[in-house]
Amino acid sequence: AQSVTQPDIHITVSEGASLELRCNYSYGATPYLFWYVQSPGQGLQLLLKYFSGDTLVQGIKGFEAEFKRSQSSFNLRKPSVHWSDAAEYFCAVGSLRDYKLSFGAGTTVTVRA
């Protein structure tokens, strides 16, 4: 069965500093990988996705993620965080055989001035 682990429950970062959120997945087939963001009281919004090809993918809001097959990881990064990036971030995995996604438990990001 597919699964996703986000090791960090909560991260606090200063505005302007860099951010990296970790995601490790477990899946037997070639995974499709996603990062979603959820602002308070809102639904989830897709930040970026990886299906194949270039292992460094660019997303919206200045985010990027790198797929590392050898480490079963898909970490999310942003070079300079803005206060509006405070939110909860979810990594998700699926595959060509599935109609559904499995989500990690999420990482809450707090941005301090």
């Binding site: 009281g41 639904g43 699926g94 109609y99 996604l101 989500f103 438990a105 999420g106």
Partner: protein, 114 residues
Amino acid sequence: DAGITQSPRHKVTETGTPVTLRCHQTENHRYMYWYRQDPGHGLRLIHYSYGVKDTDKGEVSDGYSVSRSKTEDFLLTLESATSSQTSVYFCAISNTGIHAGELFFGEGSRLTVL
């Protein structure tokens, strides 16, 4: 924004009562999903649908049933609500499953079972 409407957005009910949550879409997407969100668990799939009258169970389907009699509506029913079903429920839709696209999420329905 994808046209997804969840109703009700907030509901408080008592243990043992039936509850139905409705997801309505205007996108004509084939796939629809119900997830629940709980602290420390992220989103967990309850049931999903890959077409009218075609549904399947997710990882936490016990105590829930679903129905999809037309493309635009996907209903989630708790036959006899329990306190463990207190959660935020999200509906999501997709045109292609996850094969080539993304899930679009509704704004959630917060259910409290007393």
